[in-house]
Amino acid sequence: MRLADWIILVLYFGYVLWEGFRHGSKNQNLDDYFRGKRSLRWWAIGLSVMATQASAITYIGTTGQAYGSGMSFIQFYLPQPLVMVVLCLTFVPFFYRANIFTAYEYLERRFDGRTRSLTSFLFLMSRGLSVSLVLYAPSIILGVIFGWSEVMTILVMSVTTIIYTTVGGNKAVIMIDAKQMMLMFAGIFVAIALVAARFPAGFSMADAIQLAGATHHWNNIDLSSNLKSDYTLLSGMVGGFFLALSYFGCDQSQVQRYLTGKSLTESRLSLIFNAFLKVPMQFLILAIGVLIFVFYHFEKPPLNFDESYRSMLLTRAGAEYTQLEARYDDVFRARRNSAQELQAARRSGDLTRSESAKARYLETQAEFQKVRDENRRLLTRLLGKAPSNELNYIFPSFLIHYAPAGILGIMLAVIFAAAMSSFSSEINSLAGATIIDFYRRYFNAGASDSHYLWVSRGATLFWGVFATLAAIYAGGRLGSLIEAVNKVGSLFYGPILGVFLLAFLVKKCNGTGAFWGLLAGEAAVMAVAYYTSISWLYYNVVGVAVVLAAGTLLSLASKATTDGHG
């Protein structure tokens, strides 16, 4: 980290605080604080929706996934444009016209208070559990790579975000999200340019694409029907569809974005904007990981991207590890030479030479991977448990070693912006659900605007501090970070979506059916997660199906009982 990087970071943090205070002085009531007086334009909401979804985990975890196993994760995002159409046709007009603050408020109008409260409670549970990950995940990785204290990294991100969110409310969150998202877009192109600029002389982007193809890193689409596989077109289009529909349609952290639209048209346009941009954006983020994979054919990657392990290995298994490093040097050189030979063979147009060069390259790639696997086994033996997932360290490790002064600062600002934009929307929405669905609903219905404004700020502060403490004290190991976040959500998303679909689609459904159907759906998802090994992406489908079936049947049964008694 050089002076230019620190200056960029200070400017970034200074700007978000200034923007928060600028909007904070205009808040006078709940409408201002949680819905920005319904005055926002589509582009700001659209960027905020994207920024809320894209956390630091998206940049760190996704690039790492693409480095390790290619582009297959893109299939998870493919249904999102279709989800936006469904939202524009159903959820958005229902919510907007109902003039509500939270999505769950709608359920009380349609069913009853207990269904609203239970659904809102499930949201608070799921979002409250996962919000700390937004801070915890990047802090651990930045801590290892940059040598920063994890607690300090968490505190710098969280305290700044808590201040501007508590003071500024949702309008400040959205306007800052929009700027942060623009920064994130710029960061994608800067990262691609940075990797491409580091390719050896004479090695073009076309060569890089071809080399990655040899190891099947461009595996965008998998047509297999294996239900245990996480990333196939089927799991993406079915499981991913329901997950995205639930997240964008029923998760208050997203609903609270498009409830601020100046008109229904503005709210819809914000989602249309997402429909067109989200998949290309995600494709480019994944492509960064693939390009870094290619780059590390010509520059030797660390044997341990989590560099804290190296000193431990040298201390506890010095001879064995030194020997492993020597073999690693050999297999790296062999792989680099075979990659160069493959490039030359392909350029020559000689098919026989190309096939032979490719076979040699794949052989050296397998040898290279074998040494890395041996290193993992050695680590597991010494630690007595699986080491941290190295894929999450690849992108930050690349940045610290290869980004020039200034660019490193920009890329770190991008990672901070990604984390803070999600964190701000989440604590703002947690506060919204707490105050609107519980405090005002059950404890204090007729207080003044000023009172609600201050308790809303208090609730934002509470959730911010709660998430910060959970992040600091969070223990245990995360798998692939991005999956961990989505898996926590998937336990709750399906049943919550099921209740909203009951509200919109099943006219005969009543409060009793919706409430008990929701509980049945939640029990079914927990059972499937515990007893089966199907991909977590299908939990949402199970949740929706059980809630729809149980809710409809229970509604009909309760109506028949009532009619019978009547």
Binding site: L78, P79, P81, M84, C88, G213, H216, T265, I272, A275
Partner: protein, 47 residues
């Protein structure tokens, strides 16, 4: 007295395309094109 601000709750047409169904149709086609392009990329580049 100033009248309360009117919130446009009725379906206004989108700023481009004439009506919403055309926009939605364009998104469905766009999604199919994306899937096809990505499939083509998978088949063409992984060799």
């Amino acid at each position: 007295m100033k009248p309360p601000e009117r919130i446009h709750e009725q379906d206004e047409p989108p700023p481009i395309g004439g009506n919403w169904n055309r926009i939605y149709g364009a998104i469905v086609i766009y999604t199919l094109v994306l899937i096809f392009a990505l499939y083509w990329m998978t088949a063409a580049l992984n060799h």
